[in-house]
């Protein structure tokens, strides 16, 4: 059972790279913003259906939440536009590793300072080491 789930999760990760791989060339043809719209438009349609059929019935309304907690969607387009711009120039692998480095640095900072309402956790030595290796990987792939 666990093996099946792990394989599924690996496939999910592959899906993310395929998504980035499709976006770059598409953005070159129809423009970055249209390519971004193709992701969010189809994504909104799919997740609406998922929400309609599978969401718990009594979940609280969006309007009961503080406004800033609803801003996750504002950052998404910026991320997708960045993917569309960078992938054709530096390749998918370098793009993915760059994103990974940004994620780790920032999640360290968010945890350390307890930003965005998360509980503050001190900088973890393991994640700093991980970050160093990711930077090394970035440099190696950047060299070609």
């Amino acid at each position: 059972m666990h093996i099946v789930l792990i394989v599924l999760t690996i496939i999910a990760g592959m899906g993310l790279s395929v998504e980035a791989g499709i976006l770059g060339p598409l953005g070159n043809v129809v423009g970055e913003l249209w390519a971004t719209l193709s992701i969010f438009g189809v994504g909104a349609a799919l997740t609406f259906l998922l929400m309609l059929f599978f969401s718990p019935r009594q979940s609280p309304s969006f309007f009961k939440q503080p406004g800033w907690q609803l801003t996750g969607g504002v950052l998404g387009p910026v991320y997708v536009i960045i993917l569309t711009v960078t992938a054709p120039v530096i390749g998918i692998a370098l793009t993915m590793i760059g994103i990974l480095a940004g994620q780790i640095v920032n999640s360290l900072a968010i945890d350390h300072f307890g930003w965005l309402g998360s509980t503050s956790r001190r900088i973890d030595k393991n994640r700093v080491i991980a970050l160093l290796f990711i930077v090394a990987a970035l440099v190696l792939i950047g060299l070609g």
Partner: protein
């Protein structure tokens, strides 16, 4: 140019982790599908507004490209669903490592063969060394997560 693009990708990753932190809290309250729907629909609205006011006329429209080029979201949305299923059963750490492993293998394959209309970036000793560095990094991410969940 390359450096600028790498910095952009790093900024993209930083934004992604802010988004994850914000959506994580929302998801806990309203459920994952509802928060995913909010993310995509707000994203679509903002992109539509940007297109409306800033996008120059393009020679080719989305309706004219081969249909497989519109499948990007079909590859991204399953990620959300699978993560919900997997994280509960195999834990965040293993799920994170598995996703990143999948991302990297696939991105190396796409680059090496130039799939999906991308440029060919051949596999080299440096790329192999990078994979090794990432494997080490993943091990430490895994170890770090284990410490925090215990």
């Amino acid at each position: 140019m390359t450096l600028l693009m790498i910095s952009l990708a790093i900024i993209g990753g930083a934004l992604l982790s802010v988004q994850a932190a914000v959506n994580g809290q929302l998801g806990n309250k309203v459920g994952v599908f509802k928060s995913a729907f909010l993310t995509f629909s707000v994203g679509a609205l903002i992109t539509a507004l940007l297109i409306f006011y800033f996008e120059p006329v393009q020679p080719v429209s989305l309706m004219e490209v081969p249909k497989w080029q519109l499948l990007g979201a079909m590859c991204g949305v399953p990620y959300i669903v699978i993560m919900v299923l997997a994280v509960q059963r195999i834990g965040v750490a293993v799920a994170t490592v598995a996703v990143i492993f999948g991302q990297l293998t696939m991105s190396m394959i796409i680059d090496s063969y130039g799939w999906l209309g991308n440029e060919v970036l051949p596999f080299s000793p440096n790329r192999l060394a990078a994979v090794f560095c990432l494997a080490v990094a993943l091990y430490f991410v895994y170890k770090g997560n284990q410490n925090t969940t215990e």
